[in-house]
């Protein structure tokens, strides 16, 4: 309890200096027989970044993953590709419920993945190839590490998407990969981070028969690493290779551009970027503040009149390299909706350059409320792959003018004013004449 309080205080303190402290408890669930020491570099790199790592075998029912309704971890690393059955709290439904609660998942599989995982991945629109199939490429394998089956692929990272993979990693050495492949579905939430080169295909590595033309996966549709961001911003990454995380691959030398001095493989950098993204250390957008007001007097209200000029500001910052910076983009849109968007406007950053002290960029739109009363919503729905989603709704009412806000005198009504006045005068005149008679 005290510890939790301290942690909370620490979080507050961290927020106060506008620094980002990721939630830091990682639980690793591994196959029973898996030698965790093969991935020592991976664990130590995570520990260096401040994570607490706990290990648990896929067979163990203890310790529980839930304490009452809260999870005892923030991120889950699944190193259990070949386990066929799991305790109830690691069932696909439970794993999904953790995602629903906001936990991030890193699912690492291998060619001998069980049907359990194949079913699970299918819920995320990812379809892994049959057991025993590997990604094979006879052109881009690593000559140093390959055993002759051409399954240890050497994959360049140049076209890995931002913000999943940082530019430095992309410019760095290629990645060593040995594992299974998957087909990537059309789910918009899903992004393929790494795919095999166009000469690759997925097949049994030691199969005698030559691959026929009806391969399930071939060429660049062969997905290797894919990531999905759920609508609640929980992140799930699927990696088809356990070896990718191994110390052996991380420290293996790869030769770039045939024959030049060999360097260490890009695995370490890639893993760092992938875990950063998956565990919410990069690719985060944060809405700092939303403001709407009437431009005439600058007042914020729940009710605006029909035709009022309104201004809407939204401050967005992005997490880069561990700290919050202004988010720069020109594709944010504001919708002013009632059932349907009545207005859809681009949100533009203000002309003033953000100074170094500001951590957010201000996007704003200025418009006249439509000539229709009702309950309207300021809606910013911004979804870009790799970035956490912005889905902000602010409800205001647009009302007709009050009884005393209409024009008092209308020039068009002058004939009627004249008529009323002349009748009044005539009546008075008539009465006077009548009385004088």
């Amino acid at each position: 309890m005290l510890l939790a309080r301290l942690a909370f205080a620490a979080v507050l303190a961290a927020l106060a200096v506008a620094d980002y402290l990721p939630s830091s408890r990682i639980l690793v669930v591994s196959d029973d027989g898996l030698e965790l020491s093969r991935y020592a570099l991976f664990w130590s790199s995570l520990r260096e970044r401040g994570y607490d790592i706990a290990f648990k075998s896929s067979k163990d029912a203890q310790p529980p993953l839930r304490d009452h309704d809260t999870l005892v971890f923030d991120h889950l690393i699944l190193f259990a590709p070949s386990s066929k059955s799991f305790p109830p709290e690691l069932s696909p439904q439970s794993l999904y419920s953790y995602v629903k609660q906001g936990a991030n998942l890193l699912v690492v599989l291998s060619p001998d993945l069980s049907e359990f995982w194949r079913d699970f991945a299918r819920e995320f629109d990812i379809d892994f190839d049959d057991r025993g199939h590997l990604a094979i490429d006879h052109f881009t394998y690593s000559p140093e590490l390959d055993d002759g089956s051409h399954t240890t692929l050497l994959i360049p990272l140049a076209d890995a998407p931002t913000p999943f993979i940082s530019p430095a990693t992309r410019a760095g050495p290629p990645l060593l990969y040995r594992g299974t492949a998957h087909a990537v579905g059309r789910l918009p939430l899903l992004t393929n981070i790494l795919h095999a080169p166009s000469t690759a295909y997925s097949y049994e590595a030691n199969g005698e028969d030559a691959p026929t033309e009806d391969l399930y996966l071939s060429g660049s549709t062969t997905g290797l690493v894919s990531a999905l961001q759920a609508k609640n911003n929980a992140r799930i990454s699927f990696v088809g290779s356990l070896d990718l995380f191994s110390d052996a691959f991380a420290s293996a030398p790869v030769s770039t551009s045939a024959g030049s001095a060999s360097v260490r493989s890009g695995n370490t950098a890639f893993i760092a970027d992938l875990t950063r993204w998956t565990f919410g250390e990069s690719g985060l957008l944060r809405v700092e503040e939303i403001r709407h007001a009437r431009t005439s007097d600058g007042a914020t209200a729940d009710l605006y009149r029909v035709g009022d000029e309104l201004v809407y500001d939204i401050d967005v910052s992005a997490l880069q390299d561990g700290s919050w910076h202004p988010y720069l983009a020109d594709d944010l849109q504001l919708e002013f909706t009632m059932l349907d968007p009545h207005l859809r406007l681009p949100l533009t950053t203000s002309s003033a350059e953000p100074t170094s002290s500001t951590t957010a960029s201000r996007f704003s739109a200025r418009f006249h409320a439509p000539d229709r009363h009702g309950v309207f919503t300021f809606k910013v729905d911004y979804r870009r792959a790799g970035w956490s989603f912005i889905d902000e709704k602010t409800v205001v009412s647009i009302t007709p003018p009050r009884h005393d806000q209409y024009e008092r005198f209308i020039t068009g009504a002058l004939p009627y004013y004249g008529g009323a006045a002349s009748v009044s005068v005539a009546t008075i005149g008539f009465v006077v004449l009548w009385l004088l008679q």
Binding site: P92, Q93, Y96, V99, K100, R118, D119, R122, E123, F124, D127, L187, P188, L189, T212, E213, D214, L215, Y216, L228, A230, K231, N232, A234, L303, M338, L339, H373, G374, V375, F376, T377, V395, S397, T399, P400, R402, H403
Partner: protein, 771 residues
Amino acid sequence: MVNYAYQPPGYSAATSATMSAFLRTIILCLIAAAAMASREFAVVRFESIIHEFDPWFNFRATRVLAKDGFYEFWNWFDPTAWYPLGRVVGGTLYPGLMVTSGLIWKALHTLSIPVDIREVCVQLAPLFSGLTAFATYLFAREVGNGASKEATGLWAALFIGIAPGYISRSVAGSYDNEAIAIFILMSTFYLWLKAVKTGSVAWGGVTALFYFYMVAAWGGYAFITNMLPLHVFVLLCMGRYTSRLYVAYSSFYAIGTLASMQVPFVGFLPLLTSEHMSSLGVFGLLQIVAFVQLVRSHIPAKQFKVLLRAALAVGALLAFGALWFMTKSGKIAPWTGRFYSLWDTGYARIHLPLVSSVSEHQPTAWPSFYFDLQFLVYLFPAGVYICFRELRDEHVFVIIYSVLASYFAGVMVRLMLTLTPVVCVSGAVAISSIFETYLDPVVPEPPTPVGAIVADTPISDAEALSTPSSKKGKKAASSGTSSPTPRKKRSFVPGIFGLDSRVAPLLAFTMMAGLFVLHCTWVTSTAYSSPSVVLASRNQDGSQNIIDDFREAYYWLRQNTKEDAKIMSWWDYGYQIAGFADRTTLVDNNTWNNTHIAMVGKTMSVSEEVAYPILRQHDVDYVLVIFGGLLGFSGDDINKFLWMVRISEGIWPEEVSEQKYFTSRGEYKVDGDATETMKNSLMYKMSYYRFAELYGGGPAQDRVRQQIIPNTPIQLDTLEEAFTSENWIVRIYAVKKEDPLGRDHKSANAFANGKRKKRVKTAGKKKRSSA
């Protein structure tokens, strides 16, 4: 020397006048007290609570008025109604009711009587029914004949005080516009008769002010708008033009129309819609007639006739042509649908399902006339007949009123309310003339002609002779005085002889009046005093069992949902949800937007997959349905379901079709024979979700429709049950959020239930693995 059947009390004229004035006052006060007391059944039986549906809105609006003041109320925009359209409440209601109770509340607080606004609202209807009795007394007194004027007034006051036709809409807690409207209606009519009789601008002006109050209070003001011009028109046709009529109507119309336009909801309607054209037309006609009278007084009669005929023909043609042109060109709005349905009862069913779905817009069943009016039903024509006999201007008014109101009451149940006052007045005319005739102690002189001198009897002899006599009287005459003088015509004198022939009819009618009181009390206590928010049933041992499911569910919503949660339900419950639960609703009893209601109807009628996007688009958090199948509460949503289907079919005929909800034999079924469309509809699923489980495998009987519900479990994918009240009357479902992984709810549910997704592989792969 006058013969008396019995000795009248020998008071002097002055004493008798004082006594009758005193008695009148006492009787009127007692009638008002009885009228108020008989409306308190609901409060005594249940509690001080607002009833039904519309009163809940009126109550809510009154609270706003009391809390935020008049101008906030006037400009009130309610974002929680008709989400997301919102409702400009200030401009779409008749504020008379709220302002009235607001003023009473304010006055009481100024007098340091800290009454809750709810108590004022609950007691407003009884209070005004007391006033109605007084207004009806005044009105009927104008109509009554000669010496029985006051008696007619008192009888009418008594009748209106306890007639069930009026009580049905004015019991304590029935805080609706009608509660004060009948008082204003009768006052306006009284003042109008007064204005026509006196021809005074002052009375006309006061009539117009009361008309303004009526316009501010009830949409039924159109009845006055058409009644008064019709009266004037008929008088003109009867050749009864007088300058008094001219002054009365002109001052009423000018002031009344200008005043009525001050109500925002009415605005320019008096100049634009057909409903108001008759009053304008009669106003114009009256000016022409007045002008013609002026001309006539200046030129000889013969030329005048020619002139008149020509002018009339041209004038009528011009007026009609102008009206036709204005309507065609859109300057004047054609009659609204609700108005058409008054003339053609089939019109609404075909063109306006929304209007005809309202139970109080249904045609009246014949028994309900007797139920609501009892013996007034047969006194009514007698009274109208008596009006014909004298046919003063005010009698013409009563005749027109009774003809119109009878027709309208036959068309629409709720218009029984406007019929009741005229029935009471006519009945009072009839019964007072009966009582006057038989109470009159004067026995007519036998045929032997002796010029008798009239003594100072309370009723002058001349009047006694002019009063109608009955055939019984004739019989009595022949038997009473044994003077069978065989003189041809002069041989018989109409009149009542003897005491027995007086006592018998008096006893009969007194007994009938007594039965009327019993009937009214019984009807009021059994039929019209239920708040409908709280239901009562009798246990087997006779004790009362309160069924409070509605409030249970509404309070659940109030306590357990977000403050800005949007609740979708059929429009009947909109006002109650807003009033009890204080949550946002999509549609309510102010049925101003047919499309929005049809959208809700469509959501209820279609399958889950179609309904879910609509629910999301409207940000619906909860769906509320009323289900009476367990308890046998027949006013539930499944019984209203066909109206939802019909109304939505009117807008989306290609998506919703009424036929598909009937079995092939044309039956409306919910059991195993129900059609697939019916079983897949959201309404059916929500109503019967887990219903069969209650019966533990036994036959699950729906007690409203007497059908057995199949016990195959109903699968709800996009909704989850959030609350079901004790007797299952109210069921609330929460709308699920979108699946975080972007799957549809059906497959998400399948996953949650442990189903495995089938692998979708290319054909080539299969070929190879099988080879």
